[in-house]
């Protein structure tokens, strides 16, 4: 139930955020300056981190729901922990772009 609800909420927020993300990618000239602004301006850093966390949680929640359909018993639990570890790894990978 909470997974279902989170999928709806994060999906709706992602719809707005991705629209802005794609609008920027479409209208601004794509060069190194563009990436530098994305990674250093505080407004866009918060925007991108929010986008990253919501996108990864939405994606892995979707994979978890597919797993609920096809897996049984113990495999379900192993799959859940596997997704949790993958999610933490990808969020750390994404955050390292802003920190390093």
């Amino acid at each position: 139930m909470i997974g279902w609800l989170w999928q709806r909420i994060s999906g709706f927020v992602l719809l707005i955020l991705l629209f802005i993300h794609l609008w920027k990618a479409r209208t601004m000239p794509f060069n190194y300056e563009y990436l530098r602004i994305q990674l250093t301006t505080p407004k866009w850093v918060i925007f991108n981190i929010l986008l990253l966390c919501l996108a990864i949680s939405h994606a892995l929640n979707g994979l978890w729901q597919i797993g609920q359909d096809y897996l049984m018993g113990k495999n379900k639990k192993i799959f859940s922990y596997f997704l949790l570890i993958i999610g933490i790894c990808f969020i750390l990978l994404g955050l390292s772009i802003f920190i390093l």
Binding site: R8, G11, F12, L18, R26, L52, A55, G62, S96
Partner: protein, 120 residues
């Protein structure tokens, strides 16, 4: 035998089933894209020298074609998600099938508009 095929068409090949399976496939494709996207940004961020490769890639026509399909997938997934939210809340259930066709047409228009340059 005739009844079997009739029932198969009724519940497997309905528009609801088609939208469900397309939603699942597009979701899986977007997960693959998200991983590639993060990996590419990470890679180019670590090696700034190679950034010119990325700029050269963006002008290739194959990338434009893939971009078209990417926007089509995102747009379908997003709009069908909105349709599902409305249906879960109990709205628009009577027009869900025409709405599905509308969503596909809107996705195609948006994808074409994204790939081709603006007229300005």
């Amino acid at each position: 035998m005739k009844d079997y095929f009739k029932n198969l068409l009724n519940y497997r090949c309905s528009i609801g089933m088609l939208s469900w399976i397309l939603m699942r496939i597009s979701g899986l494709l977007l997960v693959i894209f998200l991983i590639l996207h993060l990996w590419v940004i990470f890679y180019y961020h670590q090696r700034i020298i190679d950034f010119s490769h990325l700029l050269r890639w963006r002008n290739m026509s194959i990338i434009k074609v893939l971009e078209f399909f990417l926007i089509l997938t995102i747009c379908y997934h997003a709009l069908n998600g909105v349709r599902l939210i409305f249906m879960d809340m109990g709205f628009l259930i009577k027009i869900q099938k025409p709405l599905f066709v509308t969503i596909i047409i809107i996705s195609l228009i948006v994808a074409i508009a994204f790939v081709f340059p603006f007229p300005s």
